[in-house]
């Protein structure tokens, strides 16, 4: 689903990512971890073409992203669901309209759209809040609205950048549980997070980044030394 082939990304004279190689199979669930500045966000940005690599090739769905023109970026993004740390919700629109945005872009309308929006809201347990403004919701609820919006288009790939960054452990576990559910119906999930304790409970593949290089790939050992390794 995702393949990085010797990918480097340089900002000024600083390497955010250097010579990165890895592959994620379809239906896989992986965490991306490392200190802030290790390149987690950069990696996600390359996948959704917010940035383009300085060198190397990124493949999503066997599609070489270097070959996509700027005009084709929107159609890629429509097939990748993204959950942001700061939610990126529109505060002047209610929950329903926020979740409906990707569907409007894809050209859904009327009943068809309503059905899909409510299905997504139902999955994240916010069906009764569709009329509320995001500002009236708790942080955990806002994040779940963000997740509903990311999955409403039924993407095959779901990315999340620190989705539990602002949440307490209990809510974080809930959110992770949601991602797990999506993974179980076949969605490939890649989550950038530095919450090692939480990652450890999930027993999933972990890609550890440090200074733009891949320093760990595989499940975390349950001993605490492993976390130091993953932290790089």
């Amino acid at each position: 689903m995702i393949r990085f082939d010797r990918v480097s990304k340089r900002y000024g004279n600083q390497d955010a990512l250097s010579e990165l190689n890895f592959e994620m199979q379809t239906g896989e669930f992986a965490f991306l971890t490392g200190h802030s500045g290790a390149g987690k966000s950069t990696l996600l940005k390359l996948v959704m073409l917010i940035e383009r690599p300085t060198r190397g090739q990124v493949f999503v769905n066997q599609l070489n992203l270097n070959r996509l023109s700027d005009r084709q970026i929107p159609s890629l993004r429509r097939n990748v669901g993204v959950v942001f740390q700061n939610h990126q919700l529109l505060n002047d629109r209610n929950v329903f309209d926020n979740v409906a945005l990707p569907l409007q872009i894809s050209g859904y309308q009327g009943k068809d759209m309503g059905r899909r929006v409510r299905a997504a809201l139902d999955k994240v347990g916010l069906l009764d809040k569709e009329k509320q403004l995001p500002i009236a919701l708790s942080g955990g609820e806002q994040q779940r609205v963000g997740i509903a919006r990311a999955v409403v288009n039924k993407p095959a790939l779901l990315l999340a950048d620190e989705p539990t960054g602002n949440l307490d452990p209990e809510l974080s576990a809930e959110v992770m549980n949601l991602f797990d559910q999506f993974n179980q119906v076949g969605v490939t999930v890649l989550i950038a997070s530095h919450d090692i304790a939480l990652i450890r409970t999930m027993n999933r593949r972990v890609l550890g980044l440090a200074d733009g290089k891949l320093v760990h790939d595989g499940e975390l050992p349950s001993r605490s030394t492993g976390s130091r390794n993953a932290d790089g």
């Binding site: 239906g27 917010i50 066997q62 159609s75 942001f84 990126q88 872009i105 894809s106 050209g107 119906v185």
Partner: protein, 349 residues
């Protein structure tokens, strides 16, 4: 596209690998669709329907945004209206002056005033000779009596003329020249003047030629003003749309993040510009009508003083539509400029 999306979830439920393949196909298909829209009629139709749907939604939503801030929108429209009303009024003024002069029009004539006691045979001879000249188109004889009654009817001095015992009007030969070359006509009139029965010769189109030139100059001024004020409209709307874009940066970024195309993001702003244009155009017509109404009374009073009647003509229906359309086009252009300049700069980070 909607068709394809509908297919994906089913595949999802069936099996993982299948869903991946399906969505891989989907991305590829969308890619090819953007180039070749004939692939698959159903897909194309759904896409087209969605396209029109978004146009409709953008149009009504941007209109609503203007309606909920009525004072702000009104002021913007007023700026457009004033910018358009000024050249429009000047145009109307010139148009009316021109149509008035055409009413007076026997446009280019040379009047040859004859001695009162000139013999009719001599006059006939002269008329014959003049009409054979190369520069004349026609020569008509207006007798003293005919001239008097004509003058009575148009001048408004009827009562005074009635009280006169003698007819003060001389017989006249009215020449319509077939050209307006002043030098040549002057030579011609000098020659006519030498005739014994001719008292004086008057070319009464000199001022008309000057007026024509003035009107032509006025036309140029109207054109220049229209250009300048049109540019002002483009810039004003460009600036307003720029501000609108700045105030909705979050929305634009998020829309781009979840896959909105530039055209999708652009659309509501273009419609905002269009609505401002339509509002401004209508308001400009209102200003023109008010100005016309305000001026019509003194104009008709003035006309009465000259014992004449002046009908001030306004814009016809199609001209009114033209004004609204041009307002619409100008402000859409402004919106387009702002959008194409500033939207590309906004990229998610």
């Amino acid at each position: 596209m909607a068709e394809q999306n509908r297919r994906i979830p089913r595949a999802n439920r069936r099996s993982e690998s299948r869903s991946a393949k399906a969505s891989a196909r989907q991305v590829k298909r969308e890619k090819s669709n953007s180039r070749d829209s004939t692939s698959g009629f159903a897909v194309y139709n759904a896409k087209l329907a969605a396209y029109f749907q978004h146009h409709k939604a953008s149009a009504s939503k941007s209109l609503m945004q203007l309606v909920v801030a009525p004072w702000q929108s009104f002021l913007t429209c007023l700026v457009i209206a004033i910018a358009l009303a000024l050249p429009s009024l000047l145009y109307l003024f010139l148009d009316n002056v021109q149509s008035q002069t055409h009413q007076w029009d026997q446009p280019a004539q040379i009047s040859v005033y004859l001695h009162k006691d000139a013999k009719q045979t001599a006059i006939d001879q002269l008329q014959q000779r003049l009409s054979e000249n190369a520069v004349t188109d026609s020569v008509t004889f207006v007798s003293a009596e005919a001239g008097l009654s004509q003058f009575q009817s148009v001048s408004g001095f009827g009562d005074i003329l009635d009280s006169l015992e003698d007819n003060p009007i001389p017989p006249v030969l009215v020449i319509t020249p077939n050209q307006l070359e002043l030098a040549q006509l002057e030579a011609f009139t000098a020659q006519v003047r030498t005739n014994a029965i001719v008292e004086s010769v008057q070319m009464d189109f000199e001022w008309l030629a000057k007026l024509e030139q003035l009107i032509r100059l006025g036309g140029r001024i109207v054109a220049a003003l229209s250009l300048i004020f049109g540019l002002a409209v483009v810039l004003v709307i460009g600036n307003i749309i720029r501000l609108a874009i700045a105030s909705r940066i979050d929305e634009i970024v998020i829309t781009k993040l979840v896959g909105g195309t530039d055209a999708f993001v652009r659309r509501p702003f273009l419609y905002t510009g269009m609505w401002y244009g339509i509002g401004g155009g209508v308001l400009a017509l209102v200003i023109v009508v008010i100005a016309q109404w305000w001026l019509s009374e003194p104009i008709s009073k003035l006309a009465q003083l000259y014992q004449s009647q002046i009908d001030v003509s306004g814009f016809s229906f199609s001209q009114s539509l033209m004004i609204i359309a041009s307002a619409c086009i100008l402000s859409s252009m402004g919106a387009w400029l702002a959008v194409s300049r500033h939207l590309a700069e906004i990229k998610p980070e």
